[in-house]
């Protein structure tokens, strides 16, 4: 029985492709027989910058359009594209200078040049900052480490992530470091290893959450429900959950106190694990078995077995014989599913929708929209030795990423907000994340010069973010945000401190400097604000309105600029990545 499950499960890694391709074909046939006979589209060759992987993306995405009788929107303007790529790679909009440099570039491969630049040495700090923010949120959420009685040192995790992104470590290395991490959670202490903060808060309750989160984040497989029962909708079985869980049972988050009762830091270590006792039989450390209960009350045994069915040859719980968590880290980085899960996650990050929704719930129950592309990109990513910057380069230089966010062409039905599977015929509008807004306002108002060190910056942003974060206080550490396009966000944009600072007319500030700049006339000043906020010039009608404001403010240019600037920051075109 157990073997049968294992074999069946091992099959799905391979089976995903076959199965979902079949589903994809069925879908395509259906829509063809409706009203859109497939026809060859008369599109020019999409630029691939001589990069095979970009060509591959373009080809596979176009195949999808053809299958569904769709035509894409026109390319986005250079300004739109530049704004988008800065937001998605560096977590902020471009400065006016950065934008103008790009717009002025006449080279055919100017986009490839810009991507190289922002992935290169000039921007290494900003790249590391943005991807540290993104991964901190993935690993511990926005509230992780901010509560009173927490085992997580948020700054510790951020420090280790930042160093990894500064050094541009490969993805498999990052995953290995996070899953196998041992050491002290707090920066500055002997034995410090910030990566321990990923698991530090997830080890209570026999490491159920460590199991669920590791699987979800690094393999794109959601197993949480199966801790209690076989999953009703996917292939996961309860025994697989507890077999995966067995890898974490040597791990202890040792709480360290300094004086008072509060935990000041955590030492994450692996220790000998004898196994669990059932009845009056003493556990055998050579087997180190764990047990779980079926719904009918029957008790079953579990030993470490990876999700693809690979068991650990030695079941021993003695740490000098087998370090189970390190073995798990090795199995994960060897698994093709790891690369696939990251490709899916990053595609979702850049295009607004992944190949599956959500990006971290993959499997036969949730067929990807572009299975061949997902597989091929995962393969190429692996061949690049899991070079994240390469993957980012391929996606950002693809045709799909270059398209306008307007509906145009024959693509009105390509709208995932209708529940349709994304075909990527246009860029999907999406709101900036709170962190992107924060960093964008700092860039746009050139306030970065006055910022403190990294830790002070992160603490300041974290303090500001708090107003939008609601933790549910449940064992899965889930949370939600009110920075979601609802009223609290709009009130903050209209009246809050952050925007008040960004629109301040104080001497020496951004607006004051522009107002006082003798090199720019009023029209040039208005244009500068439009470029800074929206990466485009005002239309003549917009320039006319801005002029009326100048008149209404009776020559007080600073106040008039303040009105225009406030308005730009509050408009949909600003807050929506488009």
């Amino acid at each position: 029985m157990a073997n049968w499950h294992r074999a069946r499960f091992a099959g799905w890694f391979a089976g995903v492709v076959v199965l979902s391709t079949a589903i994809g074909l069925l879908g395509a046939n259906k829509s063809e027989s409706e009203s859109h006979p497939a026809k060859t589209l008369n599109l020019g060759k999409a630029p691939d910058y001589g990069i095979a992987e970009v060509a591959l993306i373009n080809e596979k995405i176009r195949q999808g359009w053809q299958g569904q009788g769709l035509t894409p929107s026109a390319p986005a303007t250079d300004g739109e594209w530049c704004r988008r790529v800065f937001l998605d790679v560096l977590g902020r909009i471009p400065s006016v200078a950065e934008l103008q440099t790009f717009l002025a570039d006449t080279a055919v491969n100017k986009k490839a040049k810009l991507v190289d630049r922002i992935l290169g040495d000039d921007y290494v700090e900003e790249y590391a900052r943005n991807w540290t923010t993104l991964w901190t949120n993935i690993l511990i959420g926005r509230s992780g480490g901010t509560e009173e009685k927490t085992l997580i040192n948020r700054a510790g995790l951020q420090q280790s992530l930042r160093r990894a992104f500064q050094r541009d470590v490969t993805y498999n290395q990052l995953v290995y470091d996070l899953v196998s991490a041992k050491g002290v959670s707090r920066p500055g202490d002997e034995g410090f290893n910030g990566f321990v903060n990923f698991l530090a808060g997830n080890l209570t309750d026999d490491g159920v959450e460590a199991t669920a989160k590791t699987s979800q984040i690094f393999l794109g497989i959601q197993v949480r429900c199966t801790q209690c029962h076989n999953h009703p909708f996917n292939e996961w079985k309860q025994n697989q959950f507890w077999s995966l869980n067995a890898f974490f049972r040597q791990t202890r988050a040792l709480r360290r106190h300094e004086g008072g009762r509060m935990v000041t830091y955590v030492d994450l270590e692996n220790e000998d694990f004898a196994g669990e006792r059932v009845g009056d039989k003493s556990p055998d450390p050579k087997e180190a078995a764990t047990f779980y209960e079926l719904r009918n009350g029957k008790v079953e045994v579990a030993y470490p077995v990876f999700v693809d069915g690979t068991p650990l040859a030695n079941r021993s719980g003695y740490i000098d014989e087998v370090d189970r968590r390190t073995e798990l880290a090795k199995l994960i980085v060897k698994s093709d599913q790891m690369g696939k899960a990251l490709v899916n996650r990053l595609w979702g990050h850049f295009l607004g929708y992944g190949f599956t929704k959500p990006v971290d719930d993959m499997g036969p129950h949730n067929a990807p929209t572009h299975p061949e592309l997902l597989d091929a990109l995962a393969k190429a990513f692996k061949a690049s030795s899991y070079d994240m910057k390469q993957l980012i380069r391929w996606i950002t230089l693809s045709e799909a990423y270059s398209l306008s966010s307007k509906f145009a062409g024959k693509n009105k039905k390509d709208d995932p907000t209708l529940g349709e599977k994304p075909a990527f015929t246009h860029f999907y509008l999406r709101q900036m994340r709170a962190e992107e807004l924060y960093e964008s306002l700092i860039t746009a108002t050139e306030a970065q010069k006055a910022r403190g060190g990294y830790e002070a910056q992160a603490a300041a942003m974290s303090g500001w973010l708090k107003q939008f974060t609601i933790a549910f206080g449940t064992d899965d550490n889930e949370e939600t945000t009110t920075f979601n396009g609802t009223i609290p966000q709009t009130l903050m944009m209209m009246n809050g401190d952050l925007v008040q600072r960004a629109t301040s007319t104080d001497a020496g500030g951004f607006l004051h400097q522009i107002a006082a700049d003798p090199k720019m006339n009023n029209a040039a000043k208005i244009t500068h604000l439009y470029l800074a906020a929206l990466a485009r010039k005002p239309t003549s009608a917009e320039a006319g309105v801005a002029n009326q404001v100048m008149i209404a403010r009776k020559g007080n240019a600073t106040e008039a600029l303040q009105d225009v600037w406030w308005t730009l920051l509050n408009c949909n075109e600003f807050i929506l990545n488009h």
Partner: protein
């Protein structure tokens, strides 16, 4: 002139239009969306509302509403008699006095025992589906009560969530999104620091920018995008900034003894705010009480903190609504994601359990003082007809006079029946 103060003798809408009229800009009057409604007299009509007391984390209902004294799964708590026919936990003495108004549905049986999935299912009546976002019950009721809200000239959002994130409006759109406020009643950043005329001019510019981006990104027809949503919320926000009804959030205006009756905790404040909002005509208020995920030390945390806090505030809410004559028109729902295991684990805790648990409802004409359904002697099974999230919602709809024949159309054109075709729980309406 401050945007926050409306000149005497002027309605708020009139005022907003004035902002534009006084402007030096040659732009049309402010209109972010086309949803301007005629200003109606402030009618003090009877109106229906619902209050959801959301127990985030999944409460051990076996220790609150459906005790099993003496059973190995029963735990240390003893049942006590109430003003109704049902017994409840000894740690709920104040609620015991109010139980004549409330019904315990003891035969809840659901399938989602994961927090996220349970939260979604109990708030919407649907299991999560990657291709569609279902509206939460608060959004649905706010939507169905639209006519009533118009008649009451309601300016604050029709769905308010105090202290918790709730679940979003799904395909009903951002107009019906929960307005999330903190229990202290302070709405952050409500006041503008600049004068009314200047703000009016800014808003005019803003409206024209919004409109042009919306039209450039329109997919045509009635379909909307994130750009439309942004404009709608802007419109709603400007309304709030100029609305006197925002006073409803200020629980500090209540007499001291009323505040003391509810208690000092965030949940207590949320319950008091809920009453004030219901009086103002808000059709749906959700109040969050977290901390129920008691995998360890269940009994200690229930008896020392959770139940005393819940008991005082919930009893105050029920009693207060009743005394003011509002309970007959206000449905109250008490529930969480799921219940907790009858089995007590090694850390004196209870784990997630959806198969047999309780929900409590009352008010708006639902029969009080009863227990509906029955669980087995150890609490592990439902022995009578099992009820679901949909059935609770259908019953609440009935109590509010919302037709169960109501059908929505999701964004992809799929018809969706209100309460996902749940059935009214008959015992509540005899």
């Amino acid at each position: 002139m401050n945007l926050g103060s409306i000149p005497a003798g002027m309605t708020r809408r009139h005022f907003v239009q004035h902002l534009a009229a006084a402007s030096a800009l040659a732009l049309p009057a402010i209109s972010f969306t086309e949803s301007l409604r005629a200003s109606a007299a402030d009618l003090k009509k009877r109106h229906k509302s619902a209050i959801l007391l959301w127990m985030s984390g999944g409460p051990a209902t076996i220790d609150v509403w459906d005790l099993k004294p003496g059973a190995p799964t029963g735990g240390p708590f003893q049942p006590i008699a109430t003003s109704g026919n049902e017994q409840i936990s000894e740690h709920m003495p104040e609620m015991a006095k109010q139980m004549k108004h409330m019904a315990i549905i003891r035969s809840m049986s659901t399938r989602e025992a994961d927090h996220n999935r349970g939260r979604y299912y109990m708030h919407t009546g649907y299991v999560p589906n990657p291709n569609i976002e279902h509206p939460s019950y608060g959004s649905v009721i706010a939507h169905e009560m639209n006519e009533q809200s118009k008649n009451l000239n309601l300016e604050i959002p029709p769905f308010v969530s105090v202290g918790g994130g709730s679940v979003g409006p799904g395909f009903l759109g951002m107009t019906y999104a929960p307005f999330v406020v903190s229990p202290d009643g302070q709405v952050k950043d409500l006041k503008s620091s600049i004068g009314g005329q200047r703000m009016g001019e800014r808003l005019q510019m803003l409206a024209s920018l919004e409109k042009s981006f919306i039209s450039q990104h329109s997919p045509g027809g009635d379909r909307t995008t994130a750009a439309d949503d942004h404009a709608k919320i802007l419109h709603k926000t400007v309304e709030l900034m100029t609305s006197k009804q925002m006073e409803a959030f200020k629980i500090s205006q209540e007499p001291k003894e009323v505040q003391e009756r509810y208690g000092k905790t965030g949940f207590a404040k949320g319950c008091l705010m809920a009453r004030r909002l219901v009086e103002q005509g808000v059709p749906f208020v959700e109040v969050d009480l977290g901390g129920w995920d008691t995998h360890a030390n269940n009994f200690q945390s229930l008896s020392r903190t959770k139940l005393p806090e819940l008991d005082k505030a919930m009893a105050a809410l029920v009693g207060d609504l009743d005394e003011r004559g509002l309970l007959q028109d206000t449905a109250i729902i008490w529930m969480g994601e799921f219940g907790r295991t009858p089995r007590i684990n090694g850390q004196s805790g209870r784990d997630h359990w959806a198969r047999s648990w309780s929900v409590v409802v009352g008010g708006a004409g639902m029969k009080g003082g009863i227990a509906v359904g029955k669980t087995s002697s150890d609490g592990g099974d439902v022995e009578t007809e099992p009820y679901s999230s949909q059935d609770v919602m259908a019953s609440v709809c009935k109590s509010l006079g919302i037709s169960l024949a109501t059908t929505f159309t999701s964004r992809n054109g799929r018809p969706m029946k209100i309460a996902n075709s749940g059935k009214v729980i008959k015992e509540l309406f005899v």
